[in-house]
C-alpha cells in the first residue's frame, strides 16, 4: 500500500504544524503537502511550476480564509474541474458561519469541519477525517499520472 497523499491548503503555520502533529499520531502513513494560498493550491493540483512533479492528492484539507485566492474560489475551481472534482475535499476552517457552510456545500464540498480549539479535539478531528476517507469510504480508482 502506497502512502496517502494529503494536500493541506492553509496559510497559518501554526495550523500547518498542528495538522502535521495530529497526522503524526495517525496509524495511516501519509505524505502531507502544503499550499499556503489558493493560487499555490491550484498550481499544486494542476502540477504547475514547482509543483510539476507533485502527486495528485488523495484528500484535500481546505481552509477558507486564504490570501490571494480564497478557499471558496479554490473549492469552486476544484469542483468545476472534471479530474479534480473526484478528489474528496474537506473544508477545515475556524469559521462557523452558516453562510460559509451553505456556500461550501452548494459547491459540492465533501464535508465541512470546524477546527476545534483544543489540540486533542483537533487531533481527533484530523484522524477521524483520515479514517473516514481512507478506511471506511470506497473511492473511485484514480489514474496516476
Amino acid at each position: 500500500m502506497r502512502n496517502i497523499e494529503i494536500l493541506l491548503v492553509e496559510d497559518n503555520p501554526g495550523d500547518i504544524r498542528l495538522t502535521k502533529e495530529a497526522l503524526k499520531e495517525s496509524k495511516i502513513t501519509n505524505n502531507l503537502h502544503v499550499a499556503i494560498d489558493g493560487v499555490e493550491a491550484i498550481d499544486f493540483l494542476k502540477k504547475r511550476g514547482r509543483f510539476a512533479n507533485s502527486p495528485t492528492p488523495d484528500l484535500i484539507l481546505l481552509d477558507l480564509n486564504l490570501p490571494r485566492k480564497g478557499g471558496i474560489e479554490v473549492l469552486a475551481e476544484i469542483k468545476a474541474n472534471g479530474q479534480m472534482k473526484v478528489i474528496p475535499t474537506v473544508v477545515l476552517t475556524t469559521s462557523q458561519s452558516e453562510k460559509d457552510i451553505l456556500k461550501s456545500y452548494e459547491l459540492h464540498v465533501n464535508c465541512f469541519v470546524t477546527k476545534p480549539v483544543e489540540f486533542d479535539a483537533f487531533a481527533t478531528v484530523v484522524r477521524s477525517i483520515e479514517d473516514f476517507w481512507f478506511t471506511i469510504v470506497k473511492l473511485p480508482k484514480m489514474e496516476q499520472q
Binding site: 497559518n12 501554526g14 498542528l18 480549539v117 483544543e118 489540540f119 486533542d120
Partner: protein, 814 residues
C-alpha cells in the same frame, strides 16, 4: 178742484198712521160741494115754487118744484147717512131734469128754464161719472125734443115762440158742448177713477174689499197670489172662513160687529201684524191695514194685506244674530267693553271685563277708564284715541292695567268704532297677555345675560388670542390678512399694523403656494385642516416650521368668508425631531457596527485563541512532568485561561448572532420546551430537576430564539438551585390582549434585590465563578430575544426561596 179731489181720494186710501180714524172727516170736502149744491137747489126750489104758485099761478110747476125740493132734501139726508154720492147726484140730476123739462113744456118761466142746467150740471161732473152726466143731458134733450114734436103734432101747446125754442135748444147745445169741453179738462178725474181699478190690481199688496157682513167683494191678483184663492172662488164668501185662522175668527167677527154698532174700530186705518191662512191652510205672517168706506149707504172695508213672512224671518234672523253677538260679547273670555267715544264712559262691559278689573259690572257702567283708574299710564289713553280717530281702529295695543285690588297686568287691546243708536262708540276687546309679557321680560333678561356672557367670552377669547404664544390670524378667501395677534407678531416678525391688509403669500415659500391653494379649496367646502405641518417665511427671511390648524370663518348667514389660522411655531420641535431621527439612525448604525464588530472580533479572536489553546495543550501533552513543577502549573493556568476565553468568545458570538438573524414562524412552545429538556438532559439528570408546564400556546416567533430563551432561563434555574433541594421549575403562559405573558419560576437560591438591574447585563456575574461557572451571558441573551419580540422581561425573587422570571411576547407577524 179736480186735483184736490184726487188728493182727497188719495188721502182717503192712504194708510198713514198719523191720520185719525173715522169717516166724517174723510168725507168732508165732498160734503161741502153737496152742501152748497143742495143749498142752491133748496133755495131755487122754494123760491120757484112760491113764484109759480103766487105770481104765475101755475100750480103744476109749483108742485114740480116742491117735489124737486123734497127730492133734494131727502137725498141730502140719505147722503149724510150712507155717504153714497152716486145715489145723491143721481137723484139730484133726475130732479133737475124733471124740473127743466117741466119748465120747457109749460113755458112756465119765460124762456129762462134753460138756466137750470147751468145751475146744476157742472156740479154733477164732480159728483158722478161721465156717462151718467151724458145720460142726463140726452134725457134732457130728448125730453125737450119730444115736447117740441108733441107741440107740432098739436098734442100739447108750448107757449113759446119757435125762436125762443130754437134759442133754448141752441143754448142747450152750447151748454152741452161746454160740458163736453169741460169734461176734457176734467179727464184727470176720470183717470183717477180708472186708477182705482188699476191701483187695485197693480197694488203691491193684496187688496180685499168686504162688506159689512164680512163677505168678500173684491179680491185682487195679489190676493190671489198671496192666498192661493181665485177671485171667483172667494167672491161672496165670508172673509173669516177664507183667510183668517180659526183662532182669530171670533175676534174678527166681534170687531166688525162692534164697529158697525159703535163706530169704534181700533184696528182701522193702521197697520197691524196678524196671521193669515192660505188655500193650503198654511199660516202666513201678514201686515194688514183696513179702511172702512161707505158704499151704497153701507160700510165696506178695504183691506191691504202684505206678506211679511220673509220680513218676519229676516227680523228673526236679526234678532238671532243680535242674540248671538250679545252672547258672544257677554260670555266671551275676552275682555269686552263698549264705551262712548265722546266721554269714554262704559255703556256695556262683559263679565270677563269686570272680573278682570275686580269690579262688578254695575260699578263700571257709566264710568270711564280714567274714572275707574284701571290704566297704569292714563296718558296712553289719549294716544290710543288719537290713533282710533286716525285709522278707525286700534290693533294689539299693549297696555298695562291696574285692577281695583291693585293687580298690575298687561292686556293686548283691539278697539273699533261702532255706531250705536247714532252715537260713536268704542268696542274694546282685550286679552290678558301678562304671562306673555312676563315671559318676554324673562327672555329679555336672559338675552341680556346671554349677551353679557357672550361679551365676557369674547373678552376672554380676545385676551386668549392676544396672549397666546401661537400665531392666530385670519384671512379672507382672497388671501388678504384681516387680523393678527401678538403671537403672530412674535412668530413671523411682522407687526399687526404692517401685515393687516397684505396678501398671505408673503408668509408662504413660493414652492408651497400650491399647498396653500389646496387648503383653501377645503376651506371653501367648509372643511378644516388640523395640525398641518409646513414651512413659512419670517419677516427676516428665515424659514420656520409651523403646525397649522385652519378653520373656515362664516358670516351670520353661514357663508364662508375666510379662514382663521392658528399657527404654532414647531421649528424647535422639528429640529429636535430631525435630530432624534438622525440619532436613532446613528444609533442603529452604530449598533449594527457594534454587532458586526462583535461578530468579527469574536470570529477573528478565535483564530489566535485556537493557536494559544492548541499549542498549550500540545505542550502539556508532550512535556508534562518532563519540565519542573512550576512549568506544569504555568501550563495549567495558560490552558484554563484559553478555555475561558473560548467560552466568552462563543457566548459573544451567540449574543451578536441573536440580533442578526430572526425568522418568524409558528412556534409551538410546548415542543420548544420538549427540545430544551432534551438539550438539558444531562443537567436535569444530575440535579434531578422537575420541569412543569401545560397549556403552552403556539405563537408567531423565531423558533431558535424561543429555544434559546427558554433554555437559558431553565438552565439558569437549574444552575442556581439550592444544594439540598431538587429544583422544581414551573412554566406558565397567559394571553393578554394579543400579548403572551409567560412566567418561569424556580425554587432556587433567589436573587438579591440590589442586583436586579445588573442581572440582564452582558457578562455580569453575580455568583462565585468557581461554584456556578458561566460567562453571564444567558440572561442578556434572554433579554435581547424578548426585546426582539417586542416584549419585556423582569423578575421577582426572594432570597433563599426562589425566583420567577416574567416576560411578554408579542405575536409577531412573519
Amino acid at each position: 178742484m179736480p186735483d184736490n179731489g184726487i188728493q182727497e181720494n188719495t188721502r182717503f186710501v192712504g194708510r198713514k198712521k198719523k191720520e185719525k180714524p173715522g169717516v166724517k172727516k174723510v168725507l168732508q170736502p165732498r160734503l161741502a160741494i153737496i152742501n152748497s149744491f143742495t143749498l142752491i137747489a133748496v133755495v131755487y126750489c122754494i123760491s120757484s115754487s112760491i113764484l109759480f104758485f103766487s105770481v104765475v099761478g101755475n100750480y103744476f110747476l109749483s108742485a114740480v118744484h116742491l117735489l124737486a125740493l123734497l127730492s133734494v132734501v131727502t137725498n141730502y139726508f140719505v147722503l149724510l147717512r150712507t155717504k153714497n154720492f152716486k145715489r145723491a147726484t143721481n137723484v139730484i140730476l133726475t130732479t133737475g131734469t124733471v124740473v127743466v123739462v117741466s119748465l120747457f113744456t109749460t113755458g112756465g118761466w119765460e124762456n129762462t128754464g134753460y138756466l137750470w142746467p147751468f145751475a146744476y150740471l157742472p156740479y154733477a161732473f164732480f159728483l158722478t161719472e161721465r156717462h151718467t152726466v151724458m145720460h142726463w143731458v140726452v134725457a134732457l134733450f130728448s125730453g125737450c125734443i119730444l115736447a117740441v114734436l108733441l107741440h107740432i103734432a098739436g098734442a100739447i101747446t108750448i107757449p113759446y115762440s119757435p125762436v125762443a125754442i130754437a134759442n133754448f135748444f141752441a143754448a142747450l147745445l152750447v151748454f152741452t158742448m161746454c160740458i163736453l169741453l169741460f169734461q176734457k179738462a176734467t179727464v184727470k178725474r176720470e183717470e183717477f177713477l180708472s186708477y182705482t181699478g188699476a191701483l187695485l190690481e197693480a197694488a203691491p199688496d193684496a187688496v180685499i174689499v168686504i162688506n159689512d157682513q164680512g163677505q168678500i167683494l173684491k179680491w185682487n191678483d195679489k190676493a190671489e197670489i198671496l192666498f192661493g184663492w181665485k177671485e171667483h172662488e172667494v167672491a161672496g164668501r165670508l172673509l173669516s172662513s177664507v183667510i183668517i185662522p180659526l183662532r182669530y175668527r171670533e175676534a174678527h167677527k166681534k170687531g166688525l160687529k162692534r164697529f158697525l154698532e159703535t163706530g169704534e174700530g181700533p184696528v182701522l186705518n193702521k197697520t197691524i201684524e196678524i196671521k193669515g191662512l192660505n188655500k193650503s191652510n198654511k199660516e202666513l205672517d201678514v201686515a194688514l191695514s183696513i179702511s172702512p168706506v161707505i158704499v151704497k149707504e153701507k160700510y165696506q172695508f178695504i183691506g191691504f194685506v202684505r206678506d211679511i213672512t220673509e220680513q218676519k224671518k229676516a227680523e228673526e234672523k236679526v234678532k238671532e244674530s243680535e242674540h248671538m253677538f250679545s252672547t258672544l260679547f257677554h260670555s266671551s273670555p275676552v275682555l269686552n267693553a263698549i264705551s262712548e267715544a265722546s266721554t269714554g264712559k262704559y255703556i256695556e262691559v262683559n263679565d270677563a271685563f269686570a272680573r278682570f278689573f275686580d269690579f262688578t259690572k254695575e260699578e263700571m257702567l257709566g264710568k270711564s277708564s280714567i274714572e275707574l283708574n284701571i290704566l297704569s299710564r292714563p296718558e296712553e289713553r289719549e294716544l290710543i284715541i288719537k290713533k282710533i280717530q286716525q285709522d278707525g281702529f286700534v290693533r294689539d295695543a299693549e297696555t298695562q292695567t291696574i285692577s281695583k285690588n291693585g293687580k298690575t297686568r298687561w292686556v293686548s287691546t283691539n278697539i273699533d268704532i261702532i255706531n250705536l243708536n247714532g252715537k260713536d262708540c268704542f268696542l274694546t276687546a282685550a286679552i290678558d297677555i301678562t304671562a306673555r309679557k312676563e315671559a318676554e321680560e324673562e327672555i329679555r333678561k336672559m338675552n341680556m345675560e346671554l349677551e353679557r356672557r357672550v361679551e365676557e367670552k369674547q373678552t376672554l377669547y380676545s385676551s386668549i388670542v392676544n396672549s397666546s404664544d401661537d400665531a392666530i390670524f385670519s384671512r379672507t378667501l382672497d388671501g388678504i390678512i384681516t387680523s393678527w395677534n401678538h403671537g403672530a407678531e412674535k412668530s413671523f416678525g411682522y407687526s399687526a399694523k404692517e401685515i393687516t391688509g397684505k396678501h398671505i403669500s408673503i408668509l408662504i415659500p413660493p414652492q408651497l403656494m400650491n399647498e396653500e391653494n389646496e387648503i383653501m379649496e377645503k376651506i371653501r367646502k367648509g372643511e378644516g385642516v388640523d395640525h398641518y405641518e409646513t414651512e413659512r417665511i419670517r419677516k427676516d427671511g428665515k424659514i420656520i416650521y409651523v403646525s397649522l390648524t385652519i378653520s373656515p370663518l362664516r358670516d351670520s348667514l353661514g357663508n364662508i368668508t375666510g379662514a382663521s389660522k392658528i399657527s404654532r411655531d414647531i421649528t424647535e420641535r422639528k429640529i429636535a425631531e430631525e435630530e432624534k431621527i438622525k440619532y436613532t439612525h446613528d444609533l442603529e448604525r452604530s449598533n449594527k457596527e457594534l454587532e458586526q464588530f462583535a461578530y468579527i472580533a469574536s470570529h477573528d479572536l478565535q483564530e489566535p485563541l485556537r493557536m494559544v489553546g492548541s499549542y498549550v495543550q500540545l505542550l502539556e501533552k508532550r512535556y508534562k512532568g518532563k519540565l519542573d513543577a512550576d512549568a506544569d502549573e504555568f501550563i495549567h493556568f495558560a490552558i484554563d485561561g484559553a478555555n475561558r476565553m473560548k467560552q466568552l468568545i462563543s457566548d459573544l458570538l451567540n449574543y451578536s448572532r441573536t440580533s442578526r438573524e430572526t425568522q418568524i414562524t409558528e412556534v409551538d412552545i410546548a415542543k420548544v420546551l420538549g427540545d430544551v429538556k432534551k438539550n438539558l438532559t444531562t443537567s436535569i439528570m444530575e440535579s434531578n430537576a422537575k420541569i412543569n408546564h401545560n397549556g403552552m400556546p403556539v405563537i408567531k416567533a423565531d423558533r431558535t430564539q424561543m429555544m434559546q430563551l427558554f433554555q437559558n432561563l431553565i438552565a439558569n434555574a437549574i444552575k442556581f438551585r439550592k444544594e439540598d433541594e431538587a429544583p422544581v421549575i414551573n412554566v406558565k403562559a397567559i394571553n393578554e390582549n394579543g400579548h403572551w405573558f409567560f412566567s418561569v419560576s424556580d425554587n432556587g437560591i433567589g436573587i438579591e434585590k440590589e442586583y436586579s438591574d445588573k442581572i440582564f447585563v452582558i457578562f455580569k456575574r453575580l455568583n462565585d465563578k468557581a461554584k456556578y461557572g458561566g460567562t453571564g451571558i444567558g440572561l442578556a441573551i434572554a433579554k435581547k430575544i424578548v426585546e426582539r419580540h417586542r416584549g419585556k422581561i423582569w423578575f421577582e425573587s426572594e432570597l433563599g426561596k426562589g425566583t420567577t422570571f416574567f416576560f411578554t411576547l408579542k405575536n409577531l407577524q412573519s
